[in-house]
């Protein structure tokens, strides 16, 4: 064995204390779901992790009712300061149980433990910390004095960053004074259920957060439920379209964070070694299961061969394998379905005439795996240059001038993110100006921070998560009262489904402390 083969460095699963089966988390307790339960498996070994409940229509009803009750009786009456304190508690508990959460995430999702430990879970804690501080400062959110919460938020999240996407949804919603019913993706419910245990430890009032597990149908029931005021969805553009259609005319506020086909633009004056790292990080981080992945490399033609050469060299030290090994760089593909999709699109790439190169990785027998792959000779009309593959597959295209790079980068219905690599500041800023993308990274990629707004243009969705802008999705202005026009019109609406939320300045007695619950996810 050579040094580079590195002896196994497994992260132990002993820290986990998993149940054989999990119920739904409604009104502060774990309850049995009435749909058909299903198994959650580890995508690295195909072994079963736990049995997960499915929430049917009745369960979704009960969950939304619990959220509504909690909103009306408890959460909307709490001072922002106290909402903030609950969020601070949650942040601290996430930090305390960080290792456990990271192991569970890698087990259930397939991503390397190095990433869940160093990126996902720390960002989760940071997200709760950041929004905890906003809860009693909403006057400064940019929506005028005393903005109102919307009421009950229905939230559906994807499988690629399960706990992080949960944090992106729940933290701002609660800080702004809303209550929540959240559905995790069916292949990755585990950390959401562990999170429910954390909510019990934090003594969050019953019903403020409810977690209903299940598949697409559960999600559909949830977002279309008549008594939700707000829908937040992260996932595929196809489902996003469906939601936008089915909620039209209902008065529900919607935010969508959908797919992408980001261009990573490398100019000939880029800091070359860091650009290579950025390309690798852009498409191979999280196995490419990233909506904002840099899946199109747009490289200046005069350095194309050198860049592709260096890229292939760099990929030779990427390690694919057991997600729980601390030295793994590329983990498992999340599901059989996703693996099929990646394979199909990659085969299509070859058929279209692009040149395929795959890095030399030993593939384990069991589990779902796809070795990092680069397509060169890709033109803009190829499907692998236009369709989101959502896997570790990079399409390489070239350009001659900055204007051409911009035109090619923008030539897509998507618009989530983009990367720019150059040592020249004026060029970076001018290119950033012209890119129709919600997040632009210059000389870096895949950087996330709770203070930094994230979201897309065009078919990548609308609305922003993170930062002060992220509060707007969960608040509405109470109106700017011009003394001369007071009484002439009302900014309130009585339409059913819209919240008539209370001012968050009402200071009543603190929320009644819920009785202590067992923190384990035992179904009743």
């Amino acid at each position: 064995m050579t040094f580079l083969e590195y002896a196994p460095a497994p992260e132990s699963k002993a820290i986990l204390n998993l149940q054989k089966s999990y119920g739904l988390f409604i009104d502060g307790d774990f309850v049995k779901g009435h749909g058909t339960s299903f198994a959650s498996i580890s995508p690295a070994t195909e072994e079963k992790i736990a049995e997960i409940s499915t929430a049917n229509a009745r369960d979704v009803d009960v969950a939304v009712a619990a959220a509504r009750r909690a909103y009306d009786r408890t959460w909307s009456k709490l001072a922002g300061r106290d909402r903030g304190k609950y969020l601070f508690r949650i942040a601290r508990l996430v930090q305390e149980r960080a290792r456990e959460l990271a192991v569970a995430e890698s087990l259930d999702n397939g991503k390397p433990i190095k990433e869940s430990r160093d990126v996902d879970v720390p960002l989760v804690a940071a997200w709760f910390f950041y929004y905890a501080g906003w809860a009693d400062k909403l006057d400064y959110a940019g929506l005028g004095p005393n903005p109102r919460a919307l009421g009950v938020a229905a939230q559906v999240i994807p499988w690629n960053f399960p706990l992080l996407m949960l944090a992106w949804k729940i933290a701002p919603a609660l800080a702004a004074g809303n209550t929540v019913v959240l559905k995790p993706a069916e292949t990755t419910s585990l950390t959401a259920l562990l999170f429910a245990e954390i909510l019990q430890q934090a003594e969050l009032p019953d019903g403020v957060v409810n977690i209903v597990t299940g598949a697409g149908e559960t999600g559909s029931l949830l977002v279309n439920h008549p008594d939700v005021n707000k829908v937040a969805f992260t996932g595929s553009t196809a489902v996003g379209r469906a939601i936008a259609k089915s909620t039209a005319g209902t008065g529900k506020k919607i935010t969508l964070e959908l797919g992408g086909k980001a261009a990573n633009i490398v100019f000939d004056d880029a800091p070359i070694d860091q650009a290579i790292e950025g390309i690798v990080n852009g498409i191979f981080f999280n196995q490419g299961h990233v909506c904002c992945a840099g899946s199109r490399l747009l490289v200046q033609e005069n350095i194309q061969d050198e860049v592709v050469d260096r890229l292939k060299q760099r990929l030779s030290t990427l390690r694919l394998g057991d997600p729980l090994d601390k030295n793994t760089d590329i983990g498992a593909i999340n599901s059989r379905e996703q693996l099929e999709r990646i394979r199909t699109l990659s085969d299509l790439g070859e058929q279209e005439g692009a040149e395929r190169w795959t890095s030399d990785c030993a593939i384990p027998d069991k589990g779902f795996w796809f070795a990092p792959t680069i397509f060169t000779n890709v033109s803009t009309s190829h499907r692998i240059a236009r369709d989101e593959i959502f896997g570790p597959v990079l399409s390489v295209l070239s350009f001659r001038t900055p204007a051409e790079a911009i035109a090619k980068a923008n030539n897509t219905p998507y618009g989530l993110s983009a990367g720019i690599w150059s040592d020249k500041g004026s060029k970076i800023l001018a290119v950033a100006d012209k890119l129709r993308a919600g997040v632009v990274w210059a000389n870096t990629f895949n950087k996330f921070d709770p203070a930094s707004p994230f979201g897309g243009y065009k078919e990548s969705g609308y609305g922003r998560e993170g930062g002060r802008h992220g509060l707007a999705a969960y608040l509405q202005s109470s109106g700017w009262h011009d003394p001369d026009t007071r009484g002439l019109s009302s900014s309130r609406s009585d339409t059913r489904g819209l919240s008539s939320s209370r001012s968050e300045r009402i200071e009543t007695s603190p929320a009644k402390k819920p009785a202590k619950k067992s923190p384990k996810g035992v179904t009743k």
């Binding site: 040094f3 580079l4 590195y6 196994p8 190095k114 860091q274 601390k326």
Partner: protein, 334 residues
């Protein structure tokens, strides 16, 4: 307006090959300034990422032994004496008296005037396949002396028996843009390493990265040192803070990798100063292996300039052998 005459540089072979026959300060400068920039945030992030590799069990045991075999065990104090050098050499030969399986270090590193005592203390252990003697020279650490003095410093050390010379570049000249001067000095030092029998002492060129300050400067100085004929590029004298860091060493390894891809020639890298723990040293091994390849994990191509590192590695080795944590009483002071 007058155009000054181009300053012709000493015809170092690598530079002539790469830049062309009209080797002048100007053509050298154009080449150095045309190199790719370095984004510090990205470089440091990559180094930190390499530092998260988890090296356990058999890999760790192998790595600890490898670290020892790559150490230039060093004493560079004004207060050095023959006795001190003698003690250092004894430690170099027998790092752990309680464990004869412990590898020897690669070399001892001393001031030029201490070389005779190192030669005497090493005795038969001083051979091409045994422990080498590296001498710092060229008015180490500052380099602030006339060229004549610096060259005499080198010649004395070579005559006294040094196998390797660790020189310092003229940072003043570099920072004021006189690349040609820096270049010519290295070429001259390389020539001063020549012995009567035609062989050369190995030349390590210390860049003193802490004084060069920016990564762009380090990249340029690395290329300059290679073009001028250095066998190794070395980060620091250890007398200035910051000394060796993982990002700066990563950058230098990238230059060496690029030179190898360009010419097929292998240059060595030596981080020196500030590497005190086994954990840190192993991060360097990982960085070498994943940047230029495992081939470089060899005393001919990689060294640690260190003094207290050795004992920390020995403590780690002892834990592996005995199964319990060890302590300072169980490793010798030199």
């Amino acid at each position: 307006m007058t155009l000054t005459q181009p300053v012709t540089l000493a015809p170092a072979e690598r530079a002539v090959q790469l830049i062309g026959g009209d080797l002048t300060e100007k053509s050298l400068r154009l080449h150095l300034e045309g190199l790719s920039g370095v984004d510090a945030v990205g470089l440091e992030a990559r180094a930190a990422d390499l530092g998260t590799r988890s090296i356990k069990t058999t890999s760790k045991a192998w790595a600890l032994d490898k670290v020892i075999s790559l150490i230039d065990l060093t004493t560079l104090e004004g207060a050095d004496t023959p006795g001190k050098v003698s003690s250092l050499v004894a430690k170099a030969m027998t790092p752990d008296p309680s464990d004869p399986s412990t590898p020897r270090v690669a070399a001892v590193c001393v001031y030029g005037d201490m070389v005779p005592y190192a030669v005497e203390a090493l005795g038969a252990a001083h051979s091409p396949s045994g422990i080498q003697i590296a001498a710092v020279a060229t008015a180490f650490p500052s380099g602030r002396a006339s060229v004549a003095v610096k060259l005499a410093d080198v010649r004395d050390a070579v005559v006294a028996g040094a196998d390797e010379i660790d020189m310092v570049i003229d940072r003043g000249a570099f920072l004021s843009g006189r690349y040609g001067e820096v270049f010519d000095q290295i070429v001259a030092v390389k020539e001063a390493c020549r012995r009567d029998d035609g062989s050369y002492a190995h030349l390590k060129v210390i860049l003193e990265t802490g004084e060069l300050n920016t990564y762009d400067n380090v990249r340029r100085a690395s290329w300059l040192a290679i073009l001028a004929g250095g066998d190794f590029i070395k980060t620091s004298t250890g007398k200035v803070s910051p000394a060796a860091t993982l990002p700066v060493t990563l950058l230098m390894l990238q230059v060496v990798r690029d030179w190898y891809r360009l010419t097929g020639e292998r240059i060595g890298v030596k981080p020196a100063g500030g590497i005190r723990t086994s954990k840190d040293a192993i991060k360097y091994l990982v960085t070498v292996a994943e940047t230029v390849g495992e081939e470089w994990l060899d005393p001919h191509l990689f060294r640690f300039g260190a003094s207290s590192l050795l004992n920390d590695v020995l403590l780690q080795r002892q834990k592996i052998t005995t199964g319990h944590y060890s302590g300072p009483d169980y490793v010798t002071i030199d």
